[in-house]
Each structure stands twice: as C-alpha cells, then as structure tokens.
Subunit: 346 residues, 4 copies
C-alpha cells in the first residue's frame, strides 16, 4: 500500500530483529478483507505500508534474548502480536495491549507479512512452531481465521446442546460456525444467501441454513427455536442491520457475540424493544482476534487432530509475483471467492 | 392506576392464595419512578391495575403447600417474583422466566403492592423472613433498590481496586454506587449534577463527583484514570446520552453495565469508534432486578450487619391515606425527592 | 431392593401425581453401577425401595396444575429432579436442592424407575418431550450418562484446542470423552486398560489411549503434553488412586473435574507436592448430574443433530421380566459389559 | 540465609539491570513466615540466598529498554514477578509462569529484598509507582499481604451478602477477612483463638469470632448459617486440619479457597462424606499471590482511598542493622507478633 487507494510492489530492506524479536521469511500468506478496508482508509491514512497479517514462514534471524526459536524453524505468527507485559494484557485482554486494538500491529502500526521477510516482536511469546504434519497452507489459517471465528463461539458462552445463529458465512463466519460446533452447540443456524457459501456453511457444521434473501430471518429463527430465540447469535459481518438482527434473534439471557469489523456510521443501533428495554439479560460481547503462542499452539492442535479442515476456504492461489492480481481478486470479491492464498516459496 | 394517565383509589377484594402462594398484609412500600412510567403507558395499556412493586408486610394467609411461612411472619418480597421452574430460570435468568422481563409481575402482570393486601406466587421461593432487628422501612429497600443497584455492580465484573463510574445518582444509581464499594472498587466516580444527590453519592461511597453540567464527563473520567477509562461504567438512568457516555468512558476490556430502563426511541445508540469498531472487548451487560428468597436473604444480611444504610434515601413519608399526594410528589420529582415511603400501618 | 444386599420383584400400587407432578409409564431404562452401590448400602439402609434412575416413558397421568404435558406424551426424565424453588437451586446448584445431593430422589428418597410406572415431581420443570425421530433406547442415555459425562467436560473449563485426560472409560467416562470433544478439546487422552473400552474410547473421541496396566500414566501424559500436563483432568471412576493421578497430570492453572462417586474411605487424598503445596492454581471441581427440562432438551438436541451416538454403550438388553438377570449382569460387570438396557414395552 | 538453618549478613555486589530490568534501593521490607519456611528448608536447599520478598524502595538503575520508570521513582514491587510472555501467563496464570509457582523468584530463584539493593525483572510490567500520599511502610503491604489475602476472597466467588469463614487470622488471614468485606460478604466469620488476633479480626471486618479452642468450629458455623454452611471458606493457615474444617463448613455449591502454604505431609486430606462423596458441587480453589504492575496499582488505589488500613498489622519495627533480631522475633512468633517491618532508610 502506497497511500489510501493505491497498492503496488516496493523494495524495502530486510528487517533486523531487536533483542527479543525475530525476522521470518514468508512462505504462505492469506489476503483478508480487512486489507481492503485498510487500503480504503478504514484505519486512517498510511503510506508505504506493507499489507498482510496472516502469514507463516521460516525463522530467518532471532534477537539475542530469544530462547525457544532458531533460524530454520517453521513458524506460525498470530495476526495479533500482543505486548504481554502491558497493563491490558495483565488485565486479560492482550489484544488491547498498547491501547484499543493495539495488539494489531501488522499492516497497521508496522509493516505486514506480504513481503519476503517480516518482523515479529516478542518471538518467544508470539511465535509457534508448526508440527511437521501440518503444511504451511493449512497452518496459515490459524493466524486470523480460526482465532477470530472461534473467538466468536467462545465469547458466546454456548452451552452444550445450545442454539446458535451465525450471521453471515464469509471466511470468519464459517470459522465461527465451525467454532460453534467445537463448543458443542446442539443446533447451528447459518444465515447466508450466496449458494456456494451456504454449501460451505453446511460443510463446517451448520445444521440449517436461513437465506435472508428468501425468508424473514427473525421469524424463521424463532420458529426453529420454539419461539425462544437462540442462546447465542454471532455477528460475523460488521453491518448495522446484521447486528440488529442478532439482538432480535437472541433469547433473554443469551449473548450477542460480535466478531465483525464495523467500518461505517457514527452509531451502531441496538433495537430498544427487542433488547428488552435494557433489562433482558442480553449481553453484547466483542473482541479482537486472540494472538500469542499459546493460542496458536492450541489452534495447531485443533488442526493436527483433524477437528476442522480449513483448506476448503482456499478458493484461489497465486504466487507472490502475482500479488497485485491476487489482491484484486480478493478485493472485488469475485463470485465464490472466499480466501486467496499467496505463495512466497513456489 | 385506572388507565393510562389516571390514578386513584379503588376497592378490590382481598386476594386468595393458590396452593403454593401467600397473601401479605402490606406495612410499608416505596414508590418507584417506574410506577410513573407505567402510568404513562411505558409498558402498554393497563386498566384498574394496582401499582407498586416494593413492599414488605405480614403474612396474612398461605396456601396448603407452603412449608416455611405462616400467618403473622414479617416478610420481604422481591420486586421480581420468578417462576423458578421455568426454562429461563433453569438457564440462570429467573427474572426472564415466562418470557422477557416475565418475572416482573407486580403492577405489570398482576396487582401490585399499593394495597392493604397483595398476592405473592411461590411463597417458599419468593418470600424472606425479616429479622427482628431490621425495621420494615429499612427492609423494604431490598425489594428493588438494593437488588437492582447492586446488580449493576455485580454485572460490571469490578476487580478489587478497579475503577468504576456510576452515571446518574438517582436511588438506583446511589445503590449502584454502594454496590461498587461492596465489590471492592478502588475508585468510584459518581456522575451527577443535583447537589443533594451529589451529597448522597458521597455518603454511599463515591470518591469523586463529576458534574456533567460543569465539566466534560468523558474528558474528566479519562483524566481521573490516567487516560485509560474505567474498568466498569454503570448506566443507571436509561437514557441514550448516558449510555453513549458509558461506552466512551469504559476502557478496552471493560464492562458497561446497564441498569436503567430505556423507555424511549426506536434505537439505543452505540458510538461506533469508541466501542472500538466492535473489537475493543467492551462488554455491554444488562439485567432486571434479581428476586427470590435467597437474594432477599442475602440483602437483609447486608443490612443487618450494617454494610449499607438505605434510610438516607427516604426523603418523604406519607400514610396510605395520602397515597395520591405521595404519588404526585414522586412523579413530579420535586427538588430533592429521592424515595417516597408509604406507610400502611400508621 | 428389599434391603441391603437383596433385590427382587415387588408389587406396589401405581403412584398418584400431586398437583404439579406426573406419573410416567416406563418404556426403557438403564441400569447404573450406582444402583449396585445402593444395594450394597452405599447411601445407607433402604427397604423396599424401587431402584433405577435412568428411564424414559409415556405420561400416564398429570396433576391439575401441570401445563405443558398430557397423558400420552413420550418423555425423558433426568436422573436428578430438582426442586427449582429451593435455595440451592436459586444459588445455581439445583442438584443440591433440599441439601447435599438432594436432587437425587429416584431410588434414594423415593421409588425409582425400575417399575411399570414411576412418579415425577415438578412435571413442567423436570420432564422433556422426546422428538419423534429419537427412539426411547437412545433418549434414555440423556438421563444420566450424557448429563454427567458432559458435566465433567463443562466443569473442566476446557479451552478450544486444550488438552484433556479422562481417567477411566466406563460409561460415564466415555461420555466425558465425548463431552471433551464437544467442548473443542484439541487432544483427548483416554486412560483405560480394558481393550473393549479402549476401542469405545476411540469411537467417542479419544485421540490417544494410555493403558495404566502397561505404562506410567503420569509420565506418559506429561510426555504427550510437552512436559506441561493437561489443561483438564476428568476423574470418572471415584477412586482415590485415580484422583491422585488426576491432580498429578494437571498443569498449574488447570482443573481437576470430578464426576466419579467416591464410595470408600474416610478421606480422599490430595498429593501435596503435585498440588503445588496449595498454590499452583489447580482447581478441583465436583458436581452431581444436572437435571431438569432445559438440560434434557439440550441433550436431546445433541442426539437429534447426531453429535454423539450413545447406542454403542448398550452391550446388553433384557426385557423387564428378566430384570434380576439384567441386574446381575450389570452388577458383576461381566467382561465387556458397559450398559444394560431394560425394556418395559417389549 | 547461608544454608538451611542458618542466617546472617553477607556482602554482595550491587546487582546490574538487564535491558528490561530495574535495580531498586530498598527503603522498607516486611518479614514473612515463608521466609522462615525457606530457612527451614521448605523449598529445598539454598545457599547464600538473600531472603525477603515484600519490599518497596526507590529505583536505582534501569535497563535500556525500560520506558516508564526512571532512577528516583518510588516504587512497589509485587512478591511475585511473573514473566508475562510465558505460556502460563498467556493462560491467565502469571504466578505459574516458568513452571509451578515459577513467578515466585525473590528469595527462591534469585536474591530477595532484604538487602540495600535488589533486582527486578521486567520493570515496566512488574513495578508500580507509589503515589505521594502513601508512605512506604503502608505501600509495602501490597506486595504480598493484600495481594494474597484478597486473592482468597476473589477465588472464593463470594456473592454480595454471602457468608464467609476465614480460618486462621494471621496476617494473610486478616487480609482475607478484609478482602471478604471488600467483596461484599454479608457475614464474615473469623476463626481464631489468640485474643490479639481476634481483636484485629474484628478491626478488619469479622462480624463474629469463633474460637476453635473453646467451641466446635463446624457446629458453630452451621449454627451461624441456619444449618447451611458458608458460601465460602478461606483456608489461611496451610494445615491439614484447617483444610478439613474448611471443607466441612462449606455449603453444597460453595467454594473452599486455599491461600495457606501446605508445608508438611505427603497428602492433604479431603473428608470424603462432607465433600459430598465428590458430588456436592464444592469447589476447591488455590493460588499464589498475584503480582504485576496492574495488580499493584489496584492495591495502591485501595490504600489511597482508605478502604483498608494495613498498618495495624505492624507490631514490630527494626532498622536493617538489627535484621537478625528482627528475623528472630518474626521466626519465633513472640506473643502478639503479626508483622515485623524492617527499615533500610532510617
């Protein structure tokens, strides 16, 4: 990204690690819709910023105080790389270290992963070794997609056998669907209108699909839950209308778990009456993709023991040399694009 | 209440208890601003409905299956009388039993406590014996004021030594202030502009008062918290502007705990940017006054061991014969009115 | 059960429902090892007590205040039938209503389900309708096996991708294994030495089997978890030695979740050093099978949407007329006996 | 400490800070009974180890990467100084970073604070600035006494108005008593037989004292709680008998919160029947003193706003030159010794 609205290749020097840091040689990366948001100016002006926050690779160099990693190690890096000693991290919210959303450094506060080499702070705390039996193009999904999607389910306080609606089945919504299944939901309702995404939603665990283009979502979900509403609604789009629907379909005592990025408008609107005039024990939870070595190790364990297969999300593949074309495909969301994978080592 | 906008005395027969119910002879009751809301039509049309949900008295009669209470027992009754076997109660949300806000029966689904006698369902589960050393005009504050106010603190997940802002110091806000102290808050900021309520806020535990008439609340609270915002903001008014302020003054990873009744507008507005675009781990919790015997017993213990003295809230007293005047004083919020107590036994 | 050590058929009248109760005509029931404990005197002397607490059937009669069930309804009844208005239930522990373990009424405080008809208190709160597509011999597993086993996982606070050891793979341990998978465990270690149970453990989701007859369990589990120990150890046997192992294999900050019934000895022994001398943040949680309509409805949803197939637990089937033989098979734990199903309607 | 059983002064060089560390010039310190345990060999052999883990002082030097502290700053240091990037810290248990109890470094893994200068790792994360209006001899109580004592209350999940028993009123037990009040307990029962400690227990918030020398503790506590037992029992001694009592006096669904250090015996004994044979929903929680800047800042706020006055714990004061005498007084627990304060700057 050169400036708002403009992207292209640039030459930059290979970064140097500080004493506790690492530099990683990229092998695979994924393009995220938030990269597009950034280019459009969603997080404010940035110039000559390398994009990308979902990447894996091989350790190229480490600082003198790094204990657990060596050049040559295959590693996964979370999209969020917290400062673990920060007050927010001590408070249990590492993604907010250094201020709101402060753990989100790649392609925001510093250069991202769409480069031959990228820099990682706090290597011992933020890298995770990739087991031999997990290929790079599988492991890379842990960085953001699994971590954010699963967070949606975790924040939703889903009881075993509970009912869950996942509103929108983009890549993060699909992983929220998988996450709802991983937490033991008894009924997972996927809300989506695009046929190919409906099919993926079924693959990742939706028991029922509600097509908002064809049915009244609120009515249909109440019907599917004996008129009660769901225990948990996961908002995975970041749109006001979806958020309002989420509040409406959640039962009293239930949770609205927000994982979408809300990019527009001065306000997000809570429908007052369906929110129970502020008294229906409906909790609205939010969060930013959890990062860190422990999280990444746990997600790799999920992959290793075949709980979830994220590869069906990969609809397109490009070599790094075709990055501009790759970005365009992702940005314009050509029909059926879910995730675009970029290879740096092929 | 005869109909929307009209109140007055009516003759009604003494109610009869069902097998698990009780009828209580009222001794003291408090008028709540939500009684005014009800008269104004806030919960929809009601005719010939006895108002009032904060009352104590003496058991007059019990049904055949009631085990633990007998006529003559001095008892406290929560404003909310849940159906404990209901699915919402089994789910941990008894106030939502029978549907959203369904535990709120008095002066809503059935006659309230502003009468010589009132009916209580589920006597063994919803009555609590008042210890001899707690007068009726003290105990009556447990029914709603302590229970709702303290809930604000409880839902706020206040850490020991944490920072709390309580927005608006009406009677429920004052009890939220007391509740924040009871949970161990290290700094309690009371937001209020009325001098007499500011004084009460200090009495109930506010360390600092912020006067929204004189200062920028958001700026001042950030100043008081080293720029971080509070761990917990308790919204105790039920107004859109206060709610927005609550979101703004809460730190990433903090909680906005809503205890106000939101009576107006199609939407309640979340300020998008200060909410962290849906990613700052700011949780919005709501709830309805917890009821039931266990809750009431615990609140009576709080009174008995002198943790909180609610009597400073009583600014006016009337006999039941002057109920209309009492209601007018409460309704019009004459300067310095906090709570109006009505005696049925004097 | 006639008295301690003696079982046999008896004639008893068909029970009558109280106003809020139901009487159910039994169709299927399961024999539990705790039935054997009871006969051996584990819960104290009992005479002429009908055994059995895992049963399903058809509503035969309901009391006058029952709203949601009618004669002819196919219903599931939890092994635990709490008094929902009780103080312990209001406190969030319905299984402890009426005193420690007080929700355990069948074959303890009143006649159990090994009879043509049995009595259920609080029908609206404690019965659940069985969907048409779930046969009785599947639904019956919800009453205790799924509810207790899954509780082991729920109390264990398993993170997505976390590591879990389930100690002993009897029927409840197997359902704890399934429950660990339902909560998203990334690695489930089943500890068991009987080959047929090892096979079942794999079927229900164990990734690795540790055979305590052949290997050092503590050493092996540390090996499998990079020397850290597991996030959660589920004790599913109720034996001192297994409990000690559970404490030893749990990492600092982890949880030991006890679902076994401890029937012997004055004390259960915590190994002091491995417990971190009382400072390693290892939590020991216990509980009694959750009951109630909401729980049962959620478990039926788990079955309906094919999350778990409990029928592989059924190793033996008998008609009610061969009850004595059935009890003997279960009691003596013939090789490969897991659960014995008794039919009342064939 | 020279070796097990032997203490005395030694000359050591002033430590040097690493890049993220600080060196603090000690002003005040407190002697802890665990210092005596250490000398007796409780944590294994140590030679030429400087004792002490409760200290405050002035920053003497900082490493090059320290951002928030400068020489001359008055600072508090928690007894526990976690490695915040460690996996256990990422898991929410910083005191267990680097292995079980690994955050406990002073006088265990490295030299402690009973010296003119001591070294602190991770200065930005583990130091807290002391406000001007809090003297050093007050602030020093945060390092361990308040942090550990309050943790006992926090882990106990005390509901507002709940009942709490604190078993043993030594310095940590007294702070647990204060902590129970800070969490809103409605009834705090202090168990203690020494008259001077009974008096302190009342000062710090015990409503009732039970003298185990004169009464049956289990019986008396059941009497005080209408036969139910307490919501929370805090074990603050580290003795098997106290632990057993704690289990016995806790109600089903309650929590036993352990803050004592268990120094003896192969096992700690859970009384099987009163534990509800592993089914009474009684949770046993443990932990190690929370450390870190956020915790210390919160505790300082508690002091600053006069929630608790720890100075009544200081029964003896000595200059550093009389350290050996000070240690002896603390070690031998002369009648009425609670805490011994050592001054390095007088």
């Amino acid at each position: 990204m050169r400036e708002i609205g403009s992207v292209g290749f640039m030459d930059k020097p290979v970064p140097e690690p500080g004493p506790t840091d690492a530099v990683v040689r990229t092998t695979k990366a994924l393009i995220c819709t938030s990269d597009s948001h950034t280019v459009q100016g969603g997080i404010g002006p940035r110039t000559n910023l390398t994009l990308g926050h979902e990447g894996v690779g091989v350790v190229h160099a480490v600082g003198g105080e790094v204990k657990d990693f060596r050049p040559g190690d295959r590693v996964l890096v979370g999209a969020i790389t917290p400062d673990w000693g920060d007050l927010a991290a001590q408070n249990g919210y590492p993604s907010q270290s250094g201020g709101a959303l402060g753990g989100f450094k790649f392609a925001n506060l510093k250069d991202g992963v769409f480069a031959e080499y990228f820099h990682v702070s706090g290597a011992d705390a933020n890298l995770a070794r990739i087991p031999d039996d997990i290929p790079d193009d599988v492991a890379v999904y842990c960085a953001d997609m699994l971590s954010t999607g699963f967070m949606g389910a975790e924040h939703g306080a889903i009881p075993i056998g509970g009912t869950v609606a996942v509103l929108a089945q983009g890549p993060v919504g699909l992983m929220a669907t998988a996450g709802a299944r991983l937490r033991g939901a008894g009924l997972v309702i996927g809300v989506e209108s695009v046929p190919s995404r409906q099919e993926l939603a079924r693959f990742y665990g939706a028991d029922v699909i509600v097509d908002f283009g064809k049915e009244d979502v609120v009515e249909r979900i109440h019907e599917l839950t004996d008129g009660q509403g769901v225990d948990t609604a996961i908002e995975a789009l970041g749109a006001d209308v979806t958020f309002q629907t989420a509040v409406k379909v959640t039962k009293p005592g239930g949770t609205i778990s927000v994982i979408g990025y809300f990019g527009q408008g001065e306000f997000v609107h809570i429908p007052r009456v369906e929110w129970g005039v502020g008294m229906a024990d409906k909790t609205i939870a939010t969060g930013l993709c959890p990062g860190g070595r422990l999280r990444m190790e746990r997600l790799l364990r999920v992959l290793r023991n075949k709980r979830v297969d994220p590869t069906r999300l990969t609809t397109h593949r490009f070599p790094f040399s075709e990055m501009e074309r790759a970005f365009e495909v992702s940005d314009k969301k050509l029909e059926d694009t879910v995730k675009v994978l970029v290879s740096f080592d092929e």
